[in-house]
């Protein structure tokens, strides 16, 4: 509901802005030219909030400069009331104004935050693609468990198909984002986080790590390739034919600190590799303790599809 309203509103405004900026529009701002539903809402939300805040900003700018100038000391024609320090009307206005805007933005924040929950599956007729993303120093490894393949720093997927991404890290804390698709999320060692995305446009999208992780951080970028279904199948074929097998020990080799220039393909991935990467930080016997929640995640008791935010262990 909000998504539609915001969308219509945002669309209108962004059109106006684009016209205003004539050419130098939102296209050059990757986070403001989304390719999927998540990014759409986030863009509209950005524009809506910006405009709402202009209602605060502009009066303050005008009042500050206007009053400071009008009541400058050299202007002895202006009224001077040195003892005046209180007025109920003004007080009501200065407290009331911000509160009204706060209430509006709170409603928007509440609805949009629930709407944009990264753990929430995107509604679509297409069957989602499952991908497991692993952050290492300083590469992204994408495992396709259903296809049994993996790639490094190249993230291919079909358009108009929901992506169900699970993330973890082999070492320190990383943050995963493809700007034009929207929403970043931390990838943390010994834990799994989740993210749902979708692209409706084909093309190469810029993605990367947003959390500083050391020397190679700046090079920890990857290309997200949104493809047609056919091209995606060909890509899988290419990975299978060009790649080599990947098991845990080869993974640990790959995970050693390094930067790579070209994508690497893996034709065969040991099943359960993602879980093993998470479990390497847990002593046996502890992995069963999925009942407890570190930090402030979702309630683990709920067994709906979006349960278990940042669960400590990937039980499987």
């Amino acid at each position: 509901m909000l998504r539609n309203n915001l969308g219509r509103f945002g669309g209108l405004i962004s059109l106006a802005l684009v016209l205003m900026l004539s050419g130098c529009g939102l296209d050059s701002l990757s986070t403001m030219s989304p390719v999927g539903p998540v990014g759409d809402v986030e863009r509209d939300l950005t524009i809506f909030t910006l405009l709402a805040m202009l209602f605060v900003l502009i009066p303050i700018l005008v009042l500050t400069l206007g009053i400071a100038w009008r009541y400058r000391a050299s202007n002895t024609n202006s009224t001077y009331t040195p003892k005046w320090g209180h007025s109920w009307i003004v007080e009501m206005f200065v407290w009331g104004g911000p509160i009204v805007i706060l209430v509006i933005l709170s409603v928007v924040a509440w609805i949009s935050t629930h709407d944009l929950d990264p753990y929430k599956a995107i509604k679509s007729d297409a069957k989602p693609v499952h991908i497991q993303a692993v952050a290492t120093q300083w590469k992204w490894i994408f495992i396709y468990p259903e296809q049994g393949v993996a790639s490094v720093n190249e993230f291919a997927f079909p358009v108009n198909v929901p992506l169900d991404i699970s993330l973890t890290s082999d070492n320190v804390m990383n943050s995963f984002m493809i700007q034009r698709m929207g929403t970043q999320i931390f990838a943390m060692s010994g834990m799994q986080t989740k993210l749902h995305l979708l692209s409706r446009e084909t093309g190469d999208l810029e993605g990367g790590n947003y959390q500083y992780t050391g020397h190679g951080f700046s090079k920890m970028r990857f290309t997200a390739k949104a493809m047609t279904e056919d091209n995606y199948k060909q890509w899988l074929q290419k990975v299978r034919s060009q790649g080599t097998p990947l098991d845990f020990s080869k993974f640990k080799q790959l995970a050693k600190p390094s930067e790579i220039k070209k994508p690497i393909y893996y034709s065969q991935v040991t099943s359960g590799l993602f879980g093993d990467i998470i479990d390497q930080f847990h002593n046996s016997g502890v992995a069963a303790s999925t009942h407890e929640m570190p930090g402030m995640g979702h309630d683990m008791k709920s067994d709906s599809s979006d349960s278990g935010h940042a669960t400590e262990t990937a039980a499987h």
């Binding site: 986070t31 986030e42 909030t49 400071a68 200065v94 949009s112 070492n171 984002m177 060692s189």
Partner: protein, 662 residues
């Protein structure tokens, strides 16, 4: 034998010409200062009047010196980062290796917050608060000196990291597990830990000290609702310090145990919980933002009323808003990591709590504007900083509300947009306020005003430079550029980064102007002399003393009957009243104990960083012994005889008569 722990000759970065050059300048300056003191035979003066003093006014000045040194260092770091990012595009790696770049952004943040912002605001508190409430000193003058020297010794540790070993590369927030021993085995993080730990303990002590001072040392008649706004914001800030800094102490200690004793608080393995680091860090970290900003708000309230020649508008609202901000600052820490996969319920609650802070902040801004309304606004330097602040800070607040909404933060977090935002609140909200306070109270501390012409140049340099440097970062954030990149492939980012670097150069003009302003003012101090002690037609008690105030501040403690106590006294004609008879005044004695504790803390920190255990043991025991010896001393006060008080006061009254005030 490793009598020097991990320390070897290889720890000195000979191979890095930039660091060696910086180190040479640092050591050269230090030697020049020491030589100068020796040449002019000022060691005794320096020792008795400054190094061992417990006088809040001198301690305040020393805090300001620390703040300005680190402002320079932090700013040079910023210039180097801007230069690196302006060049390191599309295949070029720039002139800085990644590790050095990481040390720069870590050092910049750490220094600007802990060693520029904190000493600056604590310095202003020291200079202004005791006189503003009509007290002769703070509640615990000796502890005040301890805080100062702990801050100084922590600052020395940061300085030492420049040439011995290296500083942390984990960002000023030092998120685990990147700051843990397995990912970061060097001494850098240890420098960061011990510098923050030592200065943090000093800050906690300051918090206790000023809280008690304001609660118990106010002049008769100064009820809570008659306290000047700067005193109010200082009170709230110090409550935050007492409640928040222990959280930093704990999170640093736990990280220390992880690193030194192999414990598992924030490690990936062993059952550690890295998310607890972030939570606990920001439980301190968000109140810290308001610790930095609230005193500046207080300065602005004083400035707005004084330079509008008018009562502050909405005093009760201002006080209420300050308290609400202080309270809410503990309820919003999660907004620093909306992207850590909390459920939407938690994110929404913290988002709304964050936006609620916008309300009292907005109220304050309107109240400053309405203070100018129907006033007689004088555009002296403090007023310029106020107007620059209101406009710039409101923009930062706007982007802050944007980032408070998780859906926007999801794509802006960790990007240059975030960098632009927090500079856009901290530079006007904290730094402009501190500069306003610096210009406002400089005559009180030193007895002469600062030069207006160079002050204006400095203001415009900072203001314009700020916009040129940071507005492009907003755009870069929208373009998806992550923060902390040493180099980048996207050529579309480069023009904006070049503009930003140019902006940093304009700020440099502001910084240089400020230095020139100080030199010019010292040279012209006779023309700029503040004879009466009240150069701005002040409204609060701090302007009722001479400039600089006598050691005891007030020969007779004034009685307060209005919010604008001094204005009220001037209007009733009771300002500058001579008492029938002067009395003896008891004041705290100078002591070397605080200096000794500070010096030992430096060596303790250094020993712990380099695992020089014998030195750590010796200095640790030394600190305890010093505390005990000082604690057993019953003779810590001395008496200024009434005749001496009378002589000092007569001198000031002669000046007042000459100026025609009395």
């Amino acid at each position: 034998m490793d009598i020097l722990g991990k320390l070897t000759l290889q720890s000195i970065p000979y191979d890095n010409p930039i660091l060696m050059f910086a180190g040479a300048i640092m050591i050269g300056t230090a030697i020049a200062v020491l030589a100068g003191v020796t040449y002019f035979g000022k060691w005794k003066y320096l020792y008795t009047e400054w190094l061992t003093t417990v006088d809040h006014k001198k301690i305040g000045v020393m805090y300001l010196i620390i703040a300005f040194i680190f402002l320079l260092r932090g700013f040079i770091d910023a210039l180097m980062m801007r230069a690196q990012q302006a060049f390191a595009s599309g295949g070029s790696e720039g002139y800085l290796p990644p590790h050095h770049f990481a040390e720069l952004f870590t050092g910049h943040g750490t220094m600007m917050i802990f060693f520029m912002g904190m000493p600056f605001l604590i310095g202003l508190m020291n200079i202004a608060v005791p006189t503003q409430i009509g007290a002769r000193d703070v509640a615990f003058p000796y502890l005040n000196a301890v805080s100062l020297w702990l801050t100084a010794s922590a600052g020395m540790l940061v300085m030492a990291s420049l040439i011995i070993g290296s500083f942390s590369d984990a960002g000023w927030t030092g998120y685990a597990p990147y700051s843990g021993i397995s990912a970061n085995p060097g001494v850098g993080v240890d420098y960061w830990i011990w510098a923050l730990q030592i200065s943090g303990i000093g800050t906690t002590i300051t918090g206790i000290n000023f809280f008690v001072t304001i609660m118990r040392e106010r002049a008769p008649g100064m009820k809570f609702m008659r306290m000047p706004l700067f005193t109010w914001t200082t009170l709230c800030t110090n409550i935050l310090m007492v409640l928040a800094f222990p959280a930093l102490t704990v999170v640093l200690a736990l990280l220390t145990f992880d690193r030194y004793l192999g414990m598992h608080f924030f490690t990936s393995d062993g059952g550690g919980n890295q998310m607890m680091f972030i939570n606990m860090f920001w439980v301190w970290g968000h109140p810290e933002v308001y610790i930095l900003i609230l005193p500046a708000f207080g300065v602005f309230s004083e400035v707005a009323a004084t330079f509008s020649n008018k009562r502050l508008f909405g005093y009760v609202s201002m006080v209420g808003a300050t308290m609400v901000i202080a309270l809410l600052s503990f309820t919003v820490w999660v907004h620093h990591f909306f992207t850590m996969a909390q459920d939407p319920l938690r994110n929404s609650i913290f988002a709304i709590a964050t936006m609620v802070i916008g309300v009292p902040t907005g109220v304050k801004i309107y109240d400053w504007i309405f203070t100018m309304y129907r006033g007689r606004v004088r555009f002296n330097l403090p007023m310029l900083w106020l107007i620059g602040f209101i406009i710039t800070f409101t923009i930062g607040g706007m982007t802050g509300v944007m980032l408070a909404i998780p859906g926007i933060d999801f794509k802006m977090h960790n990007s240059e947009f975030l960098v632009a935002h927090f500079h856009n609140v901290l530079i006007p909200g904290m730094l402009f306020g501190l500069f306003a306070g610096y210009h406002y109270w400089f005559p009180k501390a030193f007895g002469f005003r600062l030069d207006e012409k160079w002050g204006r140049r400095s203001f415009w340099g900072w203001l314009i430079g700020f916009y040129v440097a940071f507005m492009p970062l907003y755009v870069l954030g929208l373009m998806g550029m992550p923060r902390r990149m040493v180099s980048y492939a996207d050529p579309a980012w480069q023009p904006f980064l070049i503009v930003a670097a140019f902006g940093a150069l304009i700020v440099l003009f502001g910084v240089v102007s400020m230095a020139i302003q100080l030199i010019v003012s010292v040279r012209n101090r006779e023309q700029l002399r503040d004879i009466t002690g009240d150069p701005w037609n002040g409204r609060t008690l701090d302007w009722a003393t001479s400039s600089p105030p006598a050691h005891y501040n007030f020969a007779v403690i004034p009685t307060v009957e209005d919010i604008d106590a001094f204005t009220d006294m001037k209007e009733r004609g009771v300002a500058y009243r001579r008492p029938d008879k002067y009395e003896d005044i008891e004041m705290p004695r100078s002591t070397p104990a605080a200096l000794v504790i500070g010096a030992l803390s430096f060596f303790l920190g250094f020993a712990l960083i380099w695992h020089i255990w014998w030195l750590a043991a010796v200095t640790g025991v030394g600190i305890i012994v010093t505390v005990i010896v000082r604690g057993c001393n019953d003779n810590t006060w001395y008496t200024i005889p009434a005749e001496e008080v009378e002589r000092t006061e007569n001198e000031w009254f002669r000046q007042l008569e000459k100026a025609g005030v009395v």
